[in-house]
Structure formats: structure tokens, C-alpha cells
Symmetry: C2
Subunit: 86 residues, 2 copies
């Protein structure tokens, strides 16, 4: 069993409406000059298996098919044996 953290972010150059809305809203809250706001996803999951290479391959397949849209999003992930911290 492995704990997996997946990061999904809009590719550079792809419009990020959520990020744009946040950037425009921050000055009204007193936070001026914040730039480059980009909103992605952070997923955690537990994947069965004994072999880290097989688990990495499985997670990459999940990312390509379901967790991310590789056309407009980048993704990467971290795989940790369950029981060794987060």
C-alpha cells in the first residue's frame, strides 16, 4: 500500500479563470501586488501494491486518463510507502 499525492496545474500559457478572479479580489482584502496566481488541484489517494515502480506506472495511467487533462494541465506525483509519514 502506498500513499500518493498528485499535483495538477494549468499549463503555462493556458488561461486560469479561477486564478484571475483571486488575483483581482485580493486588493479589496488589503493584499496588493500579488501576481501569478494559478489554481490547480492536490489529490491524495492510497494505492495497493508492493512494488513502487508498478504503483508509479499505475498512478501515471490514472493521471493521464482521469485525474488530469494532459492537453491543458501538467501533473506530477509523489509516492510514499504507507506508514512512512505523510
Amino acid at each position: 500500500m502506498f500513499k500518493v499525492s498528485v499535483y495538477v496545474t494549468p499549463k503555462r500559457g493556458v488561461a486560469d479563470p479561477q486564478g484571475a478572479v483571486i488575483e483581482r479580489a485580493l486588493p479589496a482584502l488589503g493584499h496588493h501586488g500579488v501576481t501569478q496566481v494559478r489554481v490547480g488541484r492536490y489529490l491524495t489517494l492510497e494505492v495497493p501494491g508492493d512494488d513502487v515502480a508498478q504503483v508509479r506506472e499505475a498512478v501515471d495511467d490514472m493521471c493521464r486518463k482521469l485525474l488530469a487533462n494532459p492537453i491543458i494541465e501538467d501533473y506530477w506525483f509523489e509516492v510514499t510507502p504507507a506508514g512512512e509519514g505523510a
Copy 2:
């Protein structure tokens, strides 16, 4: 200027419909036994300032007021001086 990464996750015990949908969809893609799927957000932003403590305080305020919903979500963040890697 600091580069900031913000993580926002549903609190333990709070329903996560997106995670549930993913968990139910994975077996049809050939990935069996995946559990504990939770979907959060991963934001990156650039915050002006010279003092890391002040920037951390500002980002915490942004999280409480806009980036996260502290009632149902946990958040944490990393602050790195711009220019020192990601």
C-alpha cells in the same frame, strides 16, 4: 518577492464528492483497490515583500478570507524567496 504554494484539503470527516466519484470510476479504468481519494486545491502565487514573517502572515490572512473555507477545509503553505528554485 516570495513564491508561495498553498495546499487546501477537505477536513477529515467532511464529504468529498469529487473524491468519491474518482474512487468509483477507477475500477473501470483497470485500477482496483484505490481508496481514500480526496481532492483538494494547489495554488501558486507571487507575493511582494522583504520579510518572510510578514509574508507568511499575509498569506495566512488570504487563506482564511479567500483561498480556503476554514470551516470545512484545512490549509497550509510554503513560502520561498523568489529565485531560490520552485
